[in-house]
Amino acid sequence: MRQDTLRHVYGWLLLTPAAILLVAFTHYPTVATFINSLFSKGNPIRPSRFVGFENYALMMEDPIFWKVLGNNAIFALGTIPTSIALAIVMALFVNSRLPGLGLVRMAYFTPTVLPMIAVANIWLFFYTPGIGLIDQILGLFGLPGHNWLGDPDTVMPAIIVMTIWKEAGFFMIFYLAALQNIPAELREAALLEGASRWTYFRRVLFPLLMPTTLFVLINAVLNSFKLVDHLFVLTKGGPDNASNLLLYYIFETAFSFFDTTYGATLTVVLLLLLAVFALVQFFLLDKRIHYR
């Protein structure tokens, strides 16, 4: 019995450091955010008071909220599948044994290493009408330039392309690691059986990569909501919120408008969305994945 108690104490002591960090930096802020969202915006003259779900009702009527939510959906759908597909293709390519592949691997990975703000500054000059790289290349072919970031129809695609460029290399690393763990015999056996390369990929390789794909997918979904650094440099959410994303709107609300309680309300929505996505991915997709 005493032995048992000691073991329990020992176990809890081991868990304590991690638990303290989790509670202090994850659970407490989450709960505090939710509580905050139930209060009105206060200042020294008009103190904040409990308003229940009024902030949520306001949010439902806020057209910008719906706009940024839609934008986030477009951003996620635009970036995730393409960057994952690209990552697989790049990983397959650099997994083969050709001379000079170290350089190629490095090149693919470089965008990931660069800070997003630096990347956005570079791309800002790519997209600049007239003097930007893209317009100059178009000019070589006699094509007219375009105001990529100043046109509500092209600003989202422009940002999506940049994000794919930034993300694909990062995901490639995970696929590369996974590919190197897949034994070469499988391929030889498949080819001996007369399977085409596509069949081998579809029936053998891709299923074996599924655990990695799940991991990458979760990361990609989270990133599509978390990554907004580039907006500070590229568009500030403009023109007319055409490129505004949920997290950037939260930042604007909390720090430009000093409406911390409405900011908290939006944050609760963001947290809920992320939680739902994570749960769906873990519980639904997990069942269809073959782990070795």
Binding site: N43, T128, N147, G150, D151, P239, D240
Partner: protein, 426 residues
């Protein structure tokens, strides 16, 4: 409860820190100042240099000048520091943050700090137009420091090539359109003019509306005039420059890359902050000119830029030291030096009377354009709930420029939003 706990912890940490450093900083008053930089160029070095000069003259005051990013970042950092109990006695912040800072009870009015008649007179030594954004409710809350107006930069070489008089920049909207048409290349490789519409669209729009003899808000900061006919007309004109007259690219024009566009010769005219003057002067490879903005019904531009504020949570000694620093930074000689090094305005008439600035204006007359334009200038858009009100207008402007709404519709909506936000303050 959590707040109390946090404050308690913070107080304990501060106390521990104070005990450690008490022996070092005995006699000296220590000031922490945040300041922003909104235009390019090595402005941080210039500010740090001014602060160093101040400390040499006043060895009993130690100043920590902290560069805090752009205007938004500076406000966030300064207010966050205040809320968490970190020391900050004064800060350079956006002149238009005044209502927000008053509402947050963060700043103290200079009228409550000045003591002598000489100090009171000092409050009136600045250009009155520059004080518009620093005064409300009968008190002075901000002292002008890095202040600017919008001016028109133009490429004289392109003017000559197009058969225009390089010494006479367009002075009316009609002349502007006409000149723009001559300066615009048919293939779209070179534009007549560019007015930036990201970053600070409401600011540029403030110039256009003023030229149409309409202000955007009242002095109490509780009413906006976004849907006034003259406002709508001004926005229509801005849109027409791109869609009807074809002298400006359609869509929005990026604030951050505009100077490069001008320096690379992609546009013959740009409207931009005077804060860019020195950078343009250094980097232009062509003959350029600077002129006042053109008029429609009258000339007009908003002022812009940053003011000094003193925070409320300060001891009398700290306030005195902060006053000393502000007076040093804005005295005529320093203001003249600051103006020459950056292109920002000398904030008082006395600054333009100093020998150094007079000599500079003689060799480089464009340094005085912003000052001459002051007589037509108005306050920058600033209201209670200023962030949201400004965003409503910014979004309306961008919606119109990108063609998704008509000026009437966009501005009526913006006015509705502003009315809703400001109702509580009337």
């Amino acid at each position: 409860m959590f707040h109390r706990m946090k404050n308690g912890l913070m107080a304990a940490a501060t106390a521990a820190f104070m005990m450690g450093s008490a022996t070092v900083a005995q006699a000296a008053t220590e000031l922490t100042m945040y300041y922003p930089v909104a235009v390019g160029g090595p402005l941080t070095k210039i500010v740090d240099g001014l602060v160093d000069d101040f400390m040499k003259e006043n060895p009993d005051i130690k100043v920590n000048a902290i560069y805090a990013g752009n205007y938004n970042d500076a406000r966030i950092k300064a207010l966050a520091a205040l809320k968490s109990g970190e020391p900050a006695q004064l800060s350079v912040m956006f002149s238009i943050d005044i209502y927000e800072l008053i509402e947050q009870d963060a700043i103290v009015a200079f009228d409550d700090i000045v003591e002598t008649a000489e100090e009171k007179a000092w409050l009136d030594s600045f250009y009155p137009t520059l004080m518009q954004n620093g005064r409300t409710a009968g008190k002075t809350w901000g002292i002008p420091f890095q202040r600017s107006t919008i001016v028109m930069y133009y490429n004289k070489d392109k003017f000559r090539a197009a058969g225009l008089d390089p010494e006479n920049a367009p002075a009316t909207w009609d002349e502007l359109v006409e000149a723009g048409k001559k300066l615009t290349a048919a293939d779209g490789s070179e534009w007549g003019m560019m007015i930036p519409s990201t970053g600070y669209p409401y600011w540029m729009f403030g110039a256009l509306t003023m030229q149409n003899d309409q202000v955007l808000m009242n002095g109490a900061g509780d009413t906006t005039f976004f849907d006034a006919p003259a406002t709508v007309e001004a926005l229509q004109f801005w849109k027409d420059l791109g869609t009807k007259h074809k002298v400006m690219p359609e869509g929005t024009i990026e604030w951050g890359t505009l100077r490069k566009n001008f320096l690379e010769g992609k546009t013959a005219i740009m409207w931009h902050s005077t804060g860019n003057l020195t950078a343009v002067k250094k980097n232009a490879t062509f003959d350029f000119g600077v002129a006042m903005l053109p008029e429609n019904k009258r000339r007009g531009t908003p002022t812009g830029g940053g003011n000094f504020y003193i925070f409320k949570q300060t001891s009398p000694e700290e306030r005195k030291a902060a006053m000393k620093l502000i007076r040093f930074m804005t005295n005529p000689e320093r203001a003249a030096e600051w103006s020459m090094k950056t292109g920002y305005m000398g904030v008082s008439p006395a600054a333009y009377d100093t020998k150094q600035l007079q000599d500079y204006v003689k060799t480089f007359p464009y340094a005085a354009v912003a000052r001459d334009q002051l007589e037509f200038a108005t306050a920058e858009l600033s209201t209670f709930q200023t962030g949201r009100v400004r965003k409503a207008l910014d979004d309306a402007i961008q919606a119109v420029l990108t063609g998704s709404k008509t000026p009437e519709k966009a501005l009526t909506e913006a006015q509705e939003t502003a009315d809703r936000l400001l109702k509580a303050y009337r």
